[in-house]
Symmetry: C2
Subunit: 206 residues, 2 copies
């Protein structure tokens, strides 16, 4: 069986960087935005729209014209959410079947539960997440054409993204996002060296 590592992560906690470094250390495939791109291809929805769906509960209403083309539907918003989740489900299972891999987000821990993945949850205190978002340039306002957010706005944005991730996860898995018993390892990245940490975690699989 392939070695599968899933990473759930609070926004701004460095979960993606940890995942990339871990994949590198283990010579495993790394999947993150690739999943969104593949869903977009299969559903003919835009990547941006798919991304919005997988960061929210599907019952949240989005303007229908955001998608690049139409997907057959009766209750369009609901059905798109379901379709995206179904495609995500298939794609994640295909990816896990191909080779050792590290998969970031997207309920992969739950979708692959029968494969017994090693499930990591990455978190950090708010201050370090704000700092990380600024480093990554994710502090640009979305509505105001890229103005820099204040710390307060950035904290609100981080809390909002996490709230949506939690709702999405809970909607599809029936489990609590970030609840420690759903993970094998929960890692606080507030003051750690991600490279060193990835190397240490990789040791678990030697």
């Amino acid at each position: 069986m392939n070695r599968i590592i899933t990473i759930g992560r609070e926004f701004g906690s460095g979960g993606r960087e940890l995942g990339r470094r871990l994949a590198e250390a283990l010579k495993a495939a790394y999947y993150d935005r690739e999943i969104v791109a593949e869903i977009a291809k299969r559903t003919s929805l835009s990547e941006e729209y798919v991304h919005q769906i997988v960061e929210h509960r599907p019952i949240v209403a989005f303007p229908i014209h955001v998608g690049r083309s139409f997907y057959p539907m009766l209750n369009p918003v609901w059905d798109q959410g379901q379709a995206v989740y179904q495609e995500q489900h298939s794609i994640i299972r295909e990816m896990a079947g191909k080779s050792d891999c590290v998969i970031v987000g997207r309920c992969a821990d739950y979708i692959l539960r029968d494969e017994k993945p090693f499930r990591i949850f990455v978190y950090a205190d708010m201050e370090s997440r704000v700092a990380r978002c600024r480093e990554r340039g994710e502090d640009a306002g979305r509505l105001e054409g890229g103005e820099t957010m204040t710390d307060k706005e950035l904290r609100r944005r981080i809390a909002e993204v996490d709230k949506n991730r939690a709702k999405y996860y809970e909607f599809y898995t029936g489990q609590a996002w970030g609840e420690r018993l759903n993970y094998d390892l929960c890692l606080n990245t507030t003051s750690v060296d991600l490279g060193k940490t990835a190397a240490a975690i990789a040791r678990l699989f030697e």
Copy 2:
């Protein structure tokens, strides 16, 4: 500054074994029951009684005659709890000042917060904790002269110990026991090899 690792742990999760192995891997001192023994020596209370106090909130009333001798007091039960916590505080600080060390339980993460210890919390699912308690022989009834507990009784006992640990921790630290932001690493021992895990964690400090 000495390298200090603190381990909080759910009852039956293998936190002490992990601590011992980690101390071994890092050639660091290991403190657990030693702390209780030292408190008993300094307060002239019995080890058994000190152990009971540090596993409960100090406001819980214990029969006074359990102690081997008397400690100067006005409100005896309250004062004993406070005295034990004070001694614990001093002893833990002394131990941390002496050499690299791994300290299990006893609010050490909070007491040593200025030393920036690496704070681990160890947990596991109930089934594996019941199994671990049986392996360690901790399934003997306390009142009935050592009869083996049923699974249900053992689960109740585990939940009770954890509840008391949580209350004790929260009483003295004002923080939530097991809340991930209070730890650098939370580790689920349900299905891991503790030796391998200790070796991997030790890598973080190389």
